[in-house]
């Protein structure tokens, strides 16, 4: 096990985050604040509460999840795509590191950044709405697990992408719509029965539902199912990454 390599990649990626602090941290915080202004204050004033929770508070887990998914994916995808784009990937490929160690470094850094971001957004939320977290440890668990899972997903996209457009296309055209349709700003229970069934095919529903349960003990699906689905997606991403490094897909000709 080349632990020093993992630490080196991790530190390298975290240093990149610190260099781009405005883009990495400040910009998502401002976006989230705007969501609160628009959805919490403007629309929330007309919707009093959902399932016994004030609307402003209700959207907090969804908003954190929205940022967590997009930021984890984008961070990790950019982290591995950039060396491919510039050609510095040669150093990773020629170093005595395993695929697992490379993934640990990049995914660990991307997930760390996302968790920090999630916690900052949570703290920002407190400025707008009073919040009480029923299961803080579960909340943290879901936060970390989702950050890792979607950083793995982003890592895969970063290896798959053959240009900056492809790099952006999945977060923008797939993840964001899935998140918006995944119960970020509403409970899927308010949907007509048919669309409730359709929503169950959206993996984000499970993530948001489990996360929201840790805050308010209300959920669209059972928290156990949420946890199982998140872990299943994590395992799927791990298998894909293992296959990528085994075959050299998009990395080695």
């Amino acid at each position: 096990m080349n632990g020093r390599a993992i630490v080196s990649i991790y530190k390298f990626e975290m240093a990149r985050t610190l260099r781009t602090i405005w883009q990495s941290i400040v910009s998502p915080v401002i976006s989230t604040s705007l969501y609160f202004v628009v959805f919490g204050a403007a629309i929330g004033s007309r919707i009093t509460e959902i399932e016994g929770v004030a609307y402003g508070a209700f959207i907090v887990p969804g908003l954190i999840m929205l940022m967590l998914l997009t930021q984890s994916t984008m961070n990790a995808s950019f982290g591995i795509y950039f060396p491919r784009f510039t050609g510095t990937i040669y150093e990773l490929l020629s170093a005595p590191v395993s695929s697992f160690e490379i993934a640990c470094g990049y995914v660990g850094a991307a997930a760390t950044k996302s968790v920090i971001l999630g916690l900052i957004i949570l703290a920002t939320s407190w400025l707008f709405v009073p919040l009480h977290i029923e299961h803080p440890l579960w909340m943290l668990g879901f936060l970390v697990l989702t950050a890792i899972t979607f950083s793995l997903f982003g890592f895969i996209i970063g290896i798959w992408a053959d240009g900056f457009e492809q790099l952006q296309i999945i977060p923008l055209l797939i993840l964001t719509p899935l998140t918006f349709l995944g119960g970020t700003f509403y409970s899927t229970h308010v949907l007509p029965p048919f669309w409730q069934k359709v929503a169950l095919f959206n993996p984000v529903v499970y993530l948001v539902s489990g996360f929201r349960w840790s805050f308010f003990e209300i959920s669209d699906v059972s928290p156990a199912v949420s946890l199982a689905m998140t872990v299943a997606f994590l395992v799927l991403c791990l298998v894909v990454i293992w296959w990528i490094f085994r075959t050299g897909y998009r990395l080695k000709k």
């Binding site: 240093a15 490929l93 170093a95």
Partner: protein, 321 residues
Amino acid sequence: MRPIMPSIISIKNLSKTYASGFTALKTINLDIERGEIFALLGPNGAGKTTLIGIICGILNASTGTVTVGGHDIINDYRAARALIGLVPQELTTDAFESVWDTVSFSRGLFGKPKNPAHIEKILKDLSLWDKKDNKIRTLSGGMKRRVLIAKALSHEPKVLFLDEPTAGVDVELRKDMWQVVRDLRASGVTIILTTHYIEEAEDMADRIGVISKGEIILVERKAELMSKLGKKQLVLHLQKPLEQIPPDIFGLANLTLADGGKELTFTYDTQGERTGVTRLLADLNRLDIRLRDLETRQSSLEEIFIGLVSDNERAATGAQS
């Protein structure tokens, strides 16, 4: 006779065909001796970078095996790669990191503990010390090339690949670089280099390998290669110009007349039992052809290289037709 050193890199039946169907390497068999400087020469597209890429783990081979220090590059890749430092042909550097950070990163990536004194030495040897806090993107091309060398040396490799290390580098920097290479060789590091500056290979290498169209067409000790394939010329500057070469002179077929009849050139084989120089000079004396001056010239490695590659290409064309 020079003792045969044990090989540090052993390449057996290596071939590479890309997904497009292009065969970059046909069955390559090559051993690199421990502690030598091996120059791999070949025209563009001959397969030099592909060969290096496979040994270093950047490309997958289609067939064959490679061991580095006795470690298989696939089954025992950690041990094999830990021995290797690679300076790639392209100037592929980070942009926003400092020189110090990027070189330290490379050391960590290879699993080595921090050693600021070693990094400092490398940067000083490569005249990068005063740039250590500079962002890489602010450096010139030559300086970036040095950064790549520093990164490759950061983990104290036993084998160093230099793929066109002096491309785009000015003369002064080149001299510094070659001094670093000499020092490395003196410390026991094996060096494999490709270069388009053949005079550099001639100056630096212990052995030369020539690759053409994906095949190693020759591997030879430089001195032996030059004496074996090198033609030598005796250039005679005449006091009075000749209208034509006397027909009864020795070595008529190997003589040419130039410079308005004032320069007579005799081409001879240095490996021959008799070069014919004495007989030629005796004939000149007999024919009362007086000399103003004389000099000898030896083929450069570049001339040898061009001759080899074009022979190989002619052979390949002949085989196809």
